[in-house]
Amino acid sequence: MFKKILIANRGEIALRVMRTCREMNIPTLALYEASDQGSLHVRLADECVLLDAPGGFMNGGAILDIARAHGADALHPGYGFLAEHAEFCRACENAGITFIGPPARVMEQLQPKIDALERVRAAGIATTTFSMPCADSDAPLMTAEANALGYPLLVKSCRGGRGRGEFFVASASELPDALARAQQEAHAVYGDRRVFLEKAILPAHQIGVQILGDAHGNLIHLGEREGSLMPGTQREASNQKLIEETPAPSLTPKQRARLWELALEIARVFGYVNAGTIEFLMDDAGNFYFTEVKARIQIEHPLTELVTRVDLVRAQIELAAGAPLALKQADVRLDGYAMQCRINAQDPWNQMLPSPGYLRRVRLPGGPEVRIDTYVYSGCQVPAEYDSLIAKLIVWGADRAQCRQRLERALGEFKLIGTATTLPLLQRLVRDAAFVDGTYHTQTRVPQLEMDAEAPQTVRDLAAAVALYHERAQQPLRAAIPTRMLSGWHRASRTLPE
């Protein structure tokens, strides 16, 4: 097994990887930038190095130098950053440092997204309908391609991933601006301006199948995950999943079996090794369209861990070390239901504005079948430099109703005071009819935060509480800490013009 694993990531996923490393007795080397020094992934590592290089976690060269200088023989990229960067993966292999993920030969097949789509199509499996790629000068060509595909459509980066550089286009008049913005963002994020068009499927279900493959030709799946609930409209850039679950509520048993089979077929097309997710869209008629392979651990991977009780990070490490799969397909038991909420430091009361700052109080839910993956704690800073995911809440239930009730119960126990978070939105969402019934899809609108009905007596009691709060707030401060001073600049986010 490895002597030392460098974790080329931060926040909850760095901690997630570290936990498994500790359970495997493998020392970890953490990286941090100055604003992030108080993060748990630093405090709990065996070693930590200040990453003081331009581009930070995107600077593969600097990170490889640190790995070499500190004797790491393997590297876990987490998700985002360099996780799906084929050139970096190849550079690790050349440096003799094991990249914990698929080998470079697999990454290099998957990174050009159009090639990957074409190969799957050639294997006789339906994919989304897509155009030629487009660099800056091809704008007139793209108009023709767009007309051929028909509207609405999506502009996507040829490198893709993480929903960035992806724009929704309802009609021809929106195309030029969307192309320009997509190219600009694709360049900024991936260093590659090329984009392509994809016919939108509306409404759809977004479903991924978790697979594990070893270097000895063994390949299994561990069921699917559905992530069709998103906060905004398709036209908004921040189209992140809010709640994910397994099994996918939209599938019949027959569809589910077919989906698993398709995923394994697609993985075989690329000779896939290590953990990955084969992503599909399903339309209203129940047709599946392959969209992409996520060649990394996903944010929602704990769902699969809860229903299979397989540690996917341990599997990644073992498979990267060349071990054969520990499980056969028949050993995989999919037991019960799991749901995950993403808690982001964003203000649902104010256009989902980022809300970094000082978290005065953190109280996590507990009790049966509740799992939390987070890097925050009472008295920590949420840095403004990284994405807004601060915690994941994942629960298990014997049936979907119990699972949802448990999710609602656990959200009610969660306490985060100091920065605005998406908790109020999630609490509203888990009580929404489309979620309760499991009938949601990608076009389901997230309910607005607004007044909630309560029993009249409760409202009266709350009015009393508000009055007392108001009264106390008028009194001179008595305690030593002016909380308002500590709570950071996020408070001012309200001044955003409406």
């Binding site: 306490k415 409202v459 508000v466 009055a467 108001h470 009264e471 001012a492």
Partner: protein
Amino acid sequence: MTNLAVTLNEKTWYVNVDTAPVAENTWTLQVEGETLNVRVPFSNTTAEQIEWMIVNNHPFEIVFDPELRWIQTRGRTHRVQVRDLDVTVARPHSRDGRIKAPIPGQITRVFVEAGQTIEAGAPIMILEAMKMENHLVAPVRGTVSSVNVAPGARVNLNQVLAEVQADGE
């Protein structure tokens, strides 16, 4: 004794609050004729540190918006308005035309130039932070009187990024 009008879920409650506690951590309030006992933890807690109250026999974990525009309890959110009936002057609603950075971050796009006339709600610029784009829009209809930043600029909290002079001012 303070007299307040508390509007919650569009219903207004008239509340009288005794200014001193009746017992340690316990206050008495009159809400429309009924007397309620409210327990608040630790008498030296500032308002912002209050995380829960017990109203008669009902415990509430409450998150109070520090400006009391909303409260949250038991997974539900309620819009709130409080008016002190003994104070007759309402605070003026400040609404100038300065576009300030609501968060620190980087300007990625600027859509307007000085001198241009724009509608309320028209896009002014994009500010990126936490890997997200935040669209700043015109607060009023009027004329852009200044644009102080260019794409790529790193900006601080509350930095004035642009100004719009409202029509008719």
